[in-house]
């Protein structure tokens, strides 16, 4: 068994209206010094030993993330 974390973020060149809204709200709430907020998704996945890195890559690229608009990182937390 292993725990895998996949973080999915909008590509830098893709507009992120939710991040922009959070940034605006942070300013209105009085938090200063915040330059940028981008919102993404964080997946925690439990896998057994049959799931190799190539399979994880496929799960991320074809399913958890849309390569047209998002980029992702895959991290094995405890192998």
């Amino acid at each position: 068994m292993a725990r895998v974390v996949v973080d999915v973020m909008p590509k830098p060149e893709i507009l992120d209206p939710q991040g922009q809204a959070a940034l605006g709200a942070a300013g209105r709430l009085g938090f200063t010094g915040i330059k940028e907020i981008r919102q993404g998704k964080h997946f925690e996945i439990e896998v057994d030993d049959t799931v190799d890195d190539a399979t994880l890559e496929k799960i991320a690229e074809g399913f958890l993330a849309n390569p047209v608009i998002e980029q992702w990182t895959i991290t094995r937390v405890d192998a």
């Binding site: 893709i14 209206p17 809204a21 849309n66």
Partner: protein, 225 residues
Amino acid sequence: MSARIGVITFPGTLDDGDAARAVRYADAEAVPLWHADENLHDVDAVVVPGGFSYGDYLRAGVIARFAPVMTPVIEAARAGMPVLGICNGFQILCEAGLLPGAMIRNQGLHFICRDQWLRVENTGTAWTSRYEQGAEILIPMKNIDGCYVAEQSTLDELEAEGRVVFRYVGGNPNGSRNDIAGIRSENGRVVGLMPHPEHAIDALTGPSDDGLGMFYSAVDALIKA
């Protein structure tokens, strides 16, 4: 024999009823297709209607894209079957790779529900042959993930090849790149758009009957085939 046009229902689909009604208005037979179907019941064309398939969980359209019924839809579309994706259906066709690009959250974050003017930019598709080039049509739109985005190279290609089928008129409602409301596949058989032609087929129940032309166009395409 009238054309058989399939209308897919996924869990969370909302507009299958109106899509089937639009098919019938165009004198075709509306054939219900279920997400778990593994064949298309001999239909001649397919409408992927709007709604919130699988609750739009993960991303709009992505889970529906992997539903059993999509395997024969993708196969048939690649072989030239006319397929129309409306709203969530457009998102599903993009996720399935039948159309390029993707939809993200509307700029401004509002769920936009209103009647929207569109310009018909390309009449060389299975779904737009009944329109005049440059015609302006009024049909409802209702979505929150309607902002069309794609790589610049993809946008350039769509523009160069006349693959933008519908463009927003009178201001861009949601930040869609190049004011794009709808696009087509290379062969013009697959069309996707965010606004809802199936809600504009009769002045009694919609803002116009401007949407009906899409369904008549498909029937024409099937008769010619």
